[in-house]
């Protein structure tokens, strides 16, 4: 029955597709031969691309700047040349068009911006779209493409807080919308194919928290552009998946239209190390603190309570930061691209290799190999277009199973025993618990391969009427293996240990088919662009983990055939299906008044049968007021002026699959079943309403461009794993919550050409974001389990804290206020509220160019709080090394010190634990960071000719070179317990043949 049903369903889909194809009837049109000359006002420009807008058809201007092209009278020509502003000129039935190009002074040009299903320009856009291009990304020593966005976009927060390659960075576009941590991923679209943005599962302790980056197998150097869609107008066409914004990644295509085959080679190599270390006690300071602690408490140290005083060498000193994360990591990156073709067909084929070491002891490596292929073809009659992209990447990450070494580095006593014995084996004598390097005997290897293929087909049926299809396929396979060698344990336990290994596999496969029809027309001053399409998407995700035990020897580990016992830990197979109808209606009058209407009806298998479908829509408009005569005549310094605004709804289905099923799964023990979740069949779509208004201004012939936007996003009907007390049997249930989260904010983007002449130029771009996140409403919050985490009227990312009351003059311990004087400290006493989110942030980038020499630097600034460094350590006197600040601990009544009395007593721990949840524990962790600085030199033409090169560039750059902050811990962003971002210095060469 079901099978039959499926068959019917498929037939209907085929029928739909057939229908679209059957529209591809032969139709004719009147072509026009257009010719002209491209100049810079004086001299001809040779090699400029002249393309028919929205197609891949084009020619290249010859030595005299002359061109000839066949086009429809209603087409527009798009003319581009490196270093000059791209122009779009409607043909309007003319057969001769001479073109004057201006040097590209600003980013605000006529550059085509990818808006997903259609393209627009910065001038004409009705929505909020931010963009970075290859020139911002190339040469950055990054693994995840998202890292390139750091500091470069308003409204986009990207954090890579681990310092470990291959982990998923966190990304938030215009703040946190969902109360669920995993409900805030934006939608990733790579060449039109949606990619599951959820990080990959991993068992390892280093990797499980953030998960593995699903984008890691894309080579950042192969990216042409990354667009981030932010407001309703831009995202509503993605409907249910647009609530948290959309990240569009487009990989490189062949740019030039000439017939010459060209080869580009980029080579990059660099070194990294941890950018910051903290000051800890040395051995004499540490020993005296510990002794003082026992003395103050009137206690006698024993081997159990004080191995550091009773068992260990009192003079030994080890700088554990140096030992555990003081290494130098080497990095290499090579990227090669070959492109060629003729006027109908072009191709780009490329590959890359990236290798990166780690700052940890031992040789941990991250390796990545990628290959990419792009093919563009148009038929001779220009009716049929094909664009095929295939990206394939393999990465291989070797790590270890254990926490990162930071905690060990900061807390291991300075006189702890040696790591290794003289014979090179791990030393276990006198170590309490584990030798910190024992985790190296638990290697974790992760291998991922990812194929992304996309084909865009387009057929022109009639003038203005196009039939398109976007077909995509992606396959990701990630295998992880963790081997637990017996050497990770003390030798006395070896006899009790069976060798075991855990292997897991994540498999994601998806296909997408999106048939579309577009219709464009121009009638006098009115231009209309319409689009209707449908999406069918099918995702299969599986996760399989198995543990083998009883291997006879290390070398056999991982081969399940050699294991005595095999236990399946997880075998999950998830099927997710998604379908939608969407459309867009774009209208402009005289390129002055713009209207954009988008809508989508979405269905997702993640909801119960009655709640699957929902509608989303948006309305956007823009008015280029600088085109009004009155403005043009009276405000001459204003070269461009636009007001735009949008309002609409988007949704989110980012919840686990099958949450609506009341289901059991098998227990780990034999023959049993158990309920794994509380179920709720009635939850439905989260609704996110977005409002935006913005003004875009250009001054002094667009030398200064300013864009200021204000947005308000309201997320209601919050879909959450609603936290429950454990007495319900579980700690959460999937439900829609009567809560409203609002993100409002101001975004400012400014770009300016401060100076320019023939040889020298100086440009500055700046972005600032002032976000404001607020839980606006939450009925009866005090009746729910959220009352501890959130407070109405405050941001989501807060901490509720006790009021700190200084150091008790009698006991010398920290004191916090028992607000209601009931003799206990609990949620009712947590009256101090601190915002832990970003208060404002931005980036400033400067670009100086003198002839071939170019200097760029980017500063990132973030105003925020973080958990103080002092309170991430156990209190003064306890076992484990401490910050040097602890030397200034309270000693006698009347002391004004800020650190409590040195003690190893239980009450010291209690008071410190209370203080660490009080107002004093939060520090200002704002920082200004020189995120990137790079100096490059473009070889001059005469040398290039001698070397027979088209272009060549050498460069040196540094990441995270400098951080200015008051924060005392390792890193203001990652806090005191994460590997701080690495300081990386790279140099490289780019050559085009």
């Amino acid at each position: 029955m079901t099978k039959n049903h499926n068959l019917c369903r498929r037939r209907r889909i085929y029928a739909c597709c057939l229908f679209f194809l059957s529209l591809s009837l032969t139709l004719s049109a009147q072509d026009l031969l257009v010719s002209g000359q491209v100049t810079d006002g004086q001299l001809p420009i040779s090699g400029a691309n002249v393309i028919i807008k929205n197609t891949n058809m084009g020619v290249v201007s010859d030595f005299d700047g002359r061109y000839t092209i066949t086009a429809k009278p209603t087409d527009s020509l798009q003319i581009s040349y490196l270093g000059y502003t791209t122009l779009t000129i409607p043909i309007h039935n003319r057969s001769t068009i001479n073109i004057i190009m201006y040097e590209d002074a600003t980013a605000l040009g006529e550059v085509q911006i990818n808006a997903g299903y259609y393209t627009t320009t910065d001038r004409e856009k009705t929505g909020s779209i931010a963009r970075i291009t290859a020139k911002d990304i190339e040469g950055l020593p990054i693994v995840s493409p998202l890292e390139a966005l750091q500091g470069r976009m308003a409204g986009v927060e990207v954090e890579q807080s681990s310092g470990i390659a291959g982990l998923a960075p966190s990304i938030r576009i215009r703040g946190t919308n969902s109360l669920r941590n995993d409900g805030n991923y934006p939608l990733f679209i790579v060449n039109g194919v949606p990619l599951n943005s959820e990080p990959l599962n991993s068992v390892g302790q280093l990797t499980s928290l953030s998960g593995l980056d699903p984008l890691s197998t894309i080579d950042p150097n192969n990216i042409e552009s990354i667009e981030v869609l932010k407001d309703a107008d831009a995202t509503a066409i993605y409907g249910s998946r647009g609530a948290n914004g959309v990240v569009l990644i487009t990989t490189k295509k062949r740019r030039s239209m000439d017939k010459k085959t060209s080869l580009s080679i980029n080579i990059l190599s660099g070194v990294s190390e941890v950018a910051n270390k903290v000051k800890l006690l040395n051995t004499p300071q540490y020993i005296s603190m510990r002794k003082k602690a026992f003395e103050n408490d009137g206690a006698t140290p024993t081997q159990a309570t004080a191995p550091d005083l009773m068992l260990w060498d009192q003079n030994q000193y080890t700088d554990w930061q140096e030992v555990l994360f003081g290494g130098t990591a080497l990095m290499k990156n090579i990227n090669i691209g070959l492109s060629g073709g003729n006027e109908y067909t072009s191709y780009l084929i490329g590959g890359s290799y990236h290798n990166q070491g780690s700052v940890f002891p031992d040789n941990f490596n991250y390796n990545k190999l990628t290959a990419n292929f792009n093919l563009n073809h148009r038929s001779k009659d220009d009716k049929f277009l094909l664009d095929l992209s295939v990206n394939y990447g393999v990465d291989d990450n070797s790590l270890f199973f254990g926490n990162n070494f930071v905690n060990s580095a900061l807390t291991t006593p300075p006189n702890a025993p040696a790591i290794y014995k003289e014979d090179g084996s791990l030393n276990w004598d006198n170590w309490v618990g584990n030798n910190p390097l024992a985790v190296l005997e638990q290697p974790q290897d992760i291998k991922t391969d990812n194929l992304l293929a996309n084909m865009g087909l387009s057929y022109k049926i009639l003038k203005g009427l196009n039939l398109k299809a976007n077909l995509g396929y992606s396959k990701l396979n990630s295998e992880e293996q963790i081997r637990f060698f017996k050497e990770a344990n003390r030798p006395s336990r070896w006899d009790y240990i069976k060798l075991n290994a855990i292997q897991s596999q994540t498999y994601r496969q998806s296909w997408i088919a999106e048939p579309q029809i577009t219709y464009d027309m121009v009638e006098g001053k009115v231009e209309i662009n319409t689009l209707v399409g449908a999406t069918f998407q099918d995702n299969k995700n599986s996760y399989f983990a198995v543990e083998g035990s009883g291997y006879a020897d290390k070398s056999l580990m991982g081969n399940l055939g050699a294991a005595d016992d095999v236990r399946v830990l997880t075998d999950d197979n998830i099927h997710y299906r998604y379908s939608a109808l969407f459309g867009r209606f774009g209208l402009n009058i005289d390129k002055k008044y713009f209207l954009n209407i988008t809508g989508r009806r979405d269905g997702s298998s993640r909801f119960g049968p009655d709640k699957r479908f929902s509608n989303f829509w948006a309305l956007g408009g823009a008015w280029i007021f600088s085109k009004e005569k009155v403005i043009r005549e009276h405000i001459s310094f204003l070269s461009f002026g636009k007001l735009r605004g949008s309002y609409g709804t988007t949704g989110s289905d980012q919840i686990g699959d099958y949450g609506y099923l009341d289901a059991y799964e098998t227990t780990d023990g034999p023959g049993g079943l158990y309920p794994t979740q509380l179920f709720n069949p009635d939850y439905s779509w989260e609704i996110n309403k977005k409002l935006e208004t913005a003004i875009q201004l250009g001054f002094l012939k667009d030398r200064i461009n300013l864009e200021v936007s204000w947005y308000k996003n309201s997320s209601s009907n919050q879909l959450v794993g609603y936290p429950l007390p454990a007495i319900t049997g579980f700690t959460s249930v999937q439900a829609n919550l009567p809560a409203l989260v609002q993100n409002t904010g101001w975004e400012v983007q400014l770009s300016s050409i401060n100076f320019t002449n023939r040889d020298f130029s100086w440009q500055t771009t700046l972005n600032m974001t002032f976000p404001d996140n607020k839980l606006v409403a939450f009925d009866n919050i005090d009746q729910t389990s959220y009352t501890n985490r959130y407070k109405v009227g405050y941001p989501l990312n807060i901490r509720k804290l006790y009021q700190y009351d200084g150091i008790d003059p009698e006991t010398g311990f920290y004191r916090v206020v028992d607000i209601n004087e009931d003799g206990r400290y609990n949620n009712d006493d947590r009256v101090v509220i601190k915002n832990m989110g970003r208060q404002y942030y931005g980036g400033v980038s400067n670009h100086f160019q003198y002839k071939g020499l170019s200097l760029q630097f980017l500063f990132e600034y973030i105003k925020q709080n973080n958990l103080g460094y002092i309170f991430s350590a156990t209190p003064p006197g306890f076992l484990g090394n401490k910050p040097v600040e602890f030397l200034y601990a309270w000693k006698n009544p009347g002391d004004s010190e800020h650190i409590q009395k040195v003690s190893q007593s239980f009450s010291a721990l209690v008071s410190s634990s209370n203080a660490s949840n009080s107002s004093i524990s939060i520090e200002d962790a704002s920082f200004l960071r020189l995120k990137n600085i790079s100096l490059s030199y473009q070889l001059p033409q005469d040398i290039l000719e001698k070397l027979k090169l088209t272009s060549a560039k050498v460069f040196v750059s540094a990441q995270n070179l400098l951080t200015i902050t008051k924060y005392g811990g390792l890193d203001p962003q990652g806090g005191s317990r994460a590997v701080p971002p690495l300081r990386t210095i790279t140099c490289g060469i780019q050559v085009n043949l």
């Binding site: 209707v532 099927h575 379908s579 479908f613 009341d662 429950l724 454990a726």
Partner: protein
């Protein structure tokens, strides 16, 4: 115009196909509740699941966060020998309301209660399961539920009584009084006694039968000081000598399906590669303290409470010598190496029933009969019999002897000592000398702060 129609029709087709497209089937790793309770086999699996999960649940698995460990530390049997603050808090009777072990103990207990309630709910509505099977499975679920509540009420005092799976109601449940909790425990156990038969399932002592329920009922009556009923039910278990006997060889008591066991949990519950009990893993010292894998040792008080000839000292207590001192550890479970399962985690055994009956009889004034029961245990331990040394012993002295014998016999099993100190009212007297910061409010553990934060109707115990 023709195109318009084609477009409209195709949109309609697309739309209807979208509707069908997004319905997906139940995945192969899940089975919906309705199906579970549609036949005997899967319904039985749901109950097997409860027993499996008991070996994984923190409160019952014998590991760091179990009743055995934490209540063992709260009493005077175990002491910490490594720096583990969560455990030290239990050992010092200074538990913070944020102690994560305490939260795990509590949460895991309620998770098992949810499973029991889910089986009860599922079976009540089921039509496909045979009546006989349905009655048996429901009785077992009620037995396990009573068992969990027994520990909750003893560790935390008043606790919320959760008897359904409706989280909307349960999330806001407030605490029921201790008598109300005992009422449910007794009610559940009585119905289990009435329904369950006397057979062992597949010859294994891993599932509750009539005597298992009786044994727990006897213990419950002892705790609520209903001496007659405590005697009646322990009597019935002891009389079933075909099934249960005191084993002469102390080294055989904790073995798989030993004849002394009334109920055991199998390490298989943790998964296929699990062969040893957690007690064997965490008690038997394999390297000198401080050592984070085996962070506790036996206290000197318990060691000193044994006569030298006591066989339990010889067989059930291990010794680890270091240069400076000797550490003693519980050695009831002996298999701490992998291989095959040779020991099950003992939940209830016959020796306790003798001690229950001895105590109930002493309280009822049946001193002679009480001495007979107590001597059963003493004889096996190679101790002088009370009937020989003090046949005329008075009631109070006899009760005192029984209390001491319970400690020597049941140490390091399921927190018996801590529960006994509390119920007999001598905790403060015994512990205030040994624990520096002892307060009367330490008799109850704190309700985890996390729980109070999530449920405004939950109140905290005094002193926290």
């Amino acid at each position: 115009m023709k195109y318009k129609y084609i477009i409209l029709i195709s949109l309609y087709l697309l739309h209807t196909s979208c509707e069908d497209f997004v319905s997906v089937e139940v995945p192969d790793y899940k089975i919906i509740s309705e199906t579970v309770f549609s036949n005997d086999i899967t319904a039985n699996s749901a109950v097997v699941g409860i027993y499996n999960e008991l070996f994984k649940a923190d409160f019952s698995n014998g590991n760091f966060r179990s009743v055995t460990m934490l209540a063992g530390l709260s009493g005077d049997n175990l002491r910490t020998t490594a720096l583990n603050y969560a455990m030290i808090e239990f050992g010092e009777n200074e538990i913070l309301n944020t102690n994560s072990y305490n939260l795990d103990l509590w949460s895991s207990a309620y998770k098992i209660i949810y499973m029991c309630n889910a089986v009860l709910d599922g079976l009540q509505m089921s039509e496909g399961v045979t009546t006989k099977m349905k009655d048996k499975l429901m009785a077992e679920a009620r037995f396990v539920r009573a068992f969990v509540y027994f520990y909750l009420v003893n560790l935390y005092g008043d606790v919320p009584l959760i008897q359904t799976t409706d989280y909307r109601v349960n999330a806001l449940a407030s605490r029921n009084t201790t008598p109300e909790v005992y009422e449910l425990i007794i009610d559940d156990l009585k119905s289990a006694v009435a329904v369950l038969d006397i057979n062992f399932d597949n010859g294994e002592r891993l599932r509750a039968n009539k005597f298992t329920a009786m044994a727990l009922l006897a213990r419950t009556y002892l705790f609520v000081e209903d001496w007659e009923n405590a005697e009646t039910f322990s009597n019935q278990v002891i009389d079933s000598s075909d099934n249960y006997t005191l084993l002469e060889n102390l080294n055989e008591v904790f073995l798989v399906n030993s004849k002394e066991s009334i109920w055991q949990l199998s390490p298989a519950g943790r998964g296929a590669l699990s062969f040893i009990t957690n007690e064997a893993r965490i008690f038997i010292l394999t390297s000198p303290p401080p050592n984070s894998q085996q962070p506790v040792a036996l206290s000197s008080e318990i060691i000193e409470s044994y006569d030298n000839e006591d066989l339990r000292l010889k067989h059930w207590i291990g010794k680890f010598d270091t240069e400076n001192q000797a550490f003693y550890y519980p050695f009831k479970y002996k298999n701490n190496s992998q291989g095959i399962i040779t020991e099950y985690n003992m939940v209830m055994r016959l020796a306790e029933q003798y001690l229950i009956r001895a105590e109930a009889r002493a309280q009822l004034g049946k001193l002679t009969e009480s001495i007979v029961d107590l001597d059963k245990i003493r004889k096996r331990a190679n101790l002088q019999l009370i009937s020989d040394s003090a046949p005329d012993i008075g009631k109070e002295a006899l009760l005192d002897s029984i209390s001491k014998e319970r400690n020597r016999e049941l140490f390091s099993e399921w927190g018996h000592r801590w529960l006994d100190l509390k119920r007999t009212g001598i905790a403060t007297e015994v512990l205030s000398n040994k624990k520096s910061s002892w307060q009367d409010t330490d008799l109850l553990y704190p309700i985890p702060e996390d729980e109070i934060n999530k449920n405004p109707n939950l109140t905290q115990n005094n002193g926290y």
